[in-house]
């Protein structure tokens, strides 16, 4: 290399490979960039990018399981279209009831990935490295929350997109089909945003209290399942066997349920009817919407509170 580079030969001292230490003179960006970087890293981490293969398997499998019904429906859309053309009655899953039917897989996704997002940093004491940089505690928590919410939103949108394509393929005239489908599909975007925020706030807030992934996962499962079950039990005990009319106020407890509230709020976006088999009591979709938004606010506050206090 030196032979065809006489300048280097002429250099008085030093090896050409030893560049020495150079000071960094370039730009230093602020906290927005730090938050964005953490958000991007976190989102990659949730899907296992840059991590071993095993870290990719669980999120992909659970996202696949959540979407599988819609994907099957998409695969068989031509069959259903033929059946409909022959005048047969075909009941297909819709945007409005997809989350209500398949929520359990999305819930498992949260159980598996929320601890991944926040527990590692506590377990391996990485937090001091963040908090001694230009990244505040609240900003840290916000970036982590945003990344999990984005991941959940992506999972929510996969079946919606599959349903959308499937519905269009079932129609003969594609252009009018798109015109018909778009208004039906659009509410799924704000609904998915709310569901994603709700699930991520609950699962991250609970995960942030322990450095151990397993405990965090158990905590999320225990909280959600208990909060789903307890109001139902109290409601059925409190309900008078004589009267089917429930006016004892016990059905208000359903507003505390984490998942049912999100399902009810989801129905509000689609202006859908609340199936009394799923939604016990006499609670309207509007009330569920308020409850869901309130739970997002409360659990986000819990998360922020936790990170204001956690030892660095």
């Amino acid at each position: 290399m030196t032979s065809n580079s006489p300048v280097v030969v002429a250099a008085p001292t030093g090896s050409i490979y030893d560049l020495g230490y150079r000071h960094y003179e370039g730009a230093r960006r602020g906290r927005v960039w730090a938050m964005w970087s953490l958000y991007a890293e976190s989102l990659r981490g949730i899907w296992g990018f840059g991590r071993p293969m095993s870290a990719k398997a669980i999120p992909l499998i659970l996202a696949g399981l959540y979407s599988i019904y819609a994907l099957i429906q998409l695969a068989f859309s031509s069959v259903f279209a033929n059946m409909r053309a022959q005048g047969e009655e075909v009941t297909l899953v819709t945007y409005a009831d997809y989350f209500t039917a398949m929520w359990i897989f999305l819930f498992f996704f949260c159980v598996a990935q929320a601890p991944e997002v926040v527990c590692r940093d506590q377990r391996y004491s990485v937090l001091p490295l963040y908090f001694t940089r230009a990244l505040g505690r609240v900003e840290y928590a916000a970036a982590r929350l945003a990344s999990l919410a984005t991941a959940i939103f992506i999972v929510l949108m996969i079946p919606n997109i599959a349903l959308f394509i499937g519905d269009i393929l079932m129609k003969t005239d594609t252009f009018t089909a798109i015109g018909d489908e778009v208004p039906k599909a659009l509410p799924s975007i704000p609904a998915s945003v709310l569901i994603a925020l709700g699930l991520s706030a609950i699962s991250l807030a609970l995960s942030s209290f322990t450095p151990r992934r397993a405990y965090a996962a158990i905590g999320i499962v225990a909280y959600v399942l208990l909060m789903e079950a307890i109001p139902a039990v109290i409601y059925s005990i409190g309900r008078s066997p004589v009267s089917t009319e429930s006016s004892n106020g016990m059905d208000r407890l359903f507003l505390l349920t984490p998942v049912t509230a999100l399902q009810g709020a989801n129905a509000w976006f689609f202006d859908a009817h609340l199936d009394p088999n799923t939604f016990l009591g006499h609670i309207t979709a509007e009330e569920y919407l308020v409850a869901a938004v309130a739970s997002v606010v409360v659990f986000t506050a819990v998360l922020m509170f936790r990170y204001r206090r956690v030892a660095a």
């Binding site: 020495g20 906290r31 730090a34 840059g50 071993p52 990485v126 490295l129 230009a134 660095a312």
Partner: protein, 306 residues
């Protein structure tokens, strides 16, 4: 203006005074922060970083207040914690790049700086492997790299040689020395091992139970002291007695007589006294004060300074 300055800095944890009215003023260089475990070294570092607020008093880094101007300070400082702080399932390159970006470096600059800093700390092919498989020495290097990656003005290292074998220790100390002298980065090394401090530092801060014990350039501690050690096989007491009668100030330390040097004539006095008593002389040596002495009751050294 001093680079790091504290005035009346106190930090109390309930009844425990981790730092008690500490006044410190540090000029650029390699600064050793010594003290026993629990002396308040880590507390001081964390206050300087703005991670924990002081109970009272004031701390500044490069003229910036550690409580109110934390964000500005953090661009200027790099911090290497005492404990493990690395996730095991990512590679060193990915981790350090990420930390560079959190420090505010744009994407490309973060990658370039990471490559440079990892080369500097001596991580080559293994940088793409997962950190979980690293040895303790390699992990310490990654920890140092993440503290250096954003090119800080001040590097705060909390027990950087923790858990390292003697070779790894020497390499780490050499790395610290190069960082301080070649790059012009001020390094604060907290350690309870005086030997390490002696090897690399130019300035020493000794703290004990939250108080400043001593602060001076390292040469001040290790300089030749005006004490002559005269070792004899026997008759140390007699020699001391004779020397004292001749007007020298002496202390007997086992087989050694420590004589305060008050002029060139003292050597002749010692020679003559030893000859007069026909004592078997083993050695005569000017004593160096050692760093350990600052934690001991410095009897001879104290006299020498009078």
């Amino acid at each position: 203006m001093p680079l790091i300055e504290t005035v009346g800095l106190s930090k109390h944890y309930g009844p425990v005074k981790a730092l008690d009215r500490l006044d410190v003023s540090v000029e650029p260089g390699i600064i050793g922060l010594v003290g026993a475990n629990g002396a308040g070294k880590s507390t001081l570092i964390k206050i300087l970083l703005g991670v924990i607020p002081p109970t009272s008093g004031k701390a500044t880094v490069a003229g910036l207040d550690a409580v109110t101007e934390t964000r500005e300070i953090r661009h200027l400082v790099g911090y290497m914690p005492e404990h493990d702080c690395l996730p095991p399932d990512v590679g060193a390159t990915e981790f350090v790049t990420h930390m560079a970006r959190i420090s505010g470096l744009p994407r490309t600059a973060a990658r370039e700086r990471t490559a440079e800093v990892l080369r500097h700390v001596g991580l080559y092919e293994e940088r793409y492997r997962q950190i979980g498989g690293y040895s303790t020495g390699m992990k310490q290097r990654v920890k140092l790299a993440q503290a250096l990656v954003h090119d800080p003005k001040v590097l705060l290292l909390d027990e950087p040689t923790n858990g390292l074998d003697p070779t790894g220790r020497d390499e780490m100390l050499d790395l610290i020395k190069r960082t301080g002298t070649d790059f012009g980065i001020t390094v604060v090394v907290a350690s309870h091992l005086l030997g390490e401090i002696e090897q690399v530092c130019t300035y020493l801060l000794a703290i004990d139970a939250g108080h400043l014990l001593n602060a001076a350039p390292i040469s001040h501690f290790t300089q030749r002291t005006a004490v002559l050690a005269v070792e004899v096989e026997q008759g140390a007491e007699e020699l001391a007695g004779l020397l004292t009668s001749k007007g020298a100030r002496t202390t007997v330390d086992g087989a050694c007589v420590l004589v305060v040097i008050n002029g060139d004539g003292i050597y002749d006095v010692v020679r003559d006294s030893v000859a007069d008593l026909s004592l078997p002389l083993v050695r005569m040596q000017q004593e160096r004060r050692r760093l350990e002495d600052i934690f001991r009751d410095p009897v001879p050294a104290g006299e020498a300074n009078q």
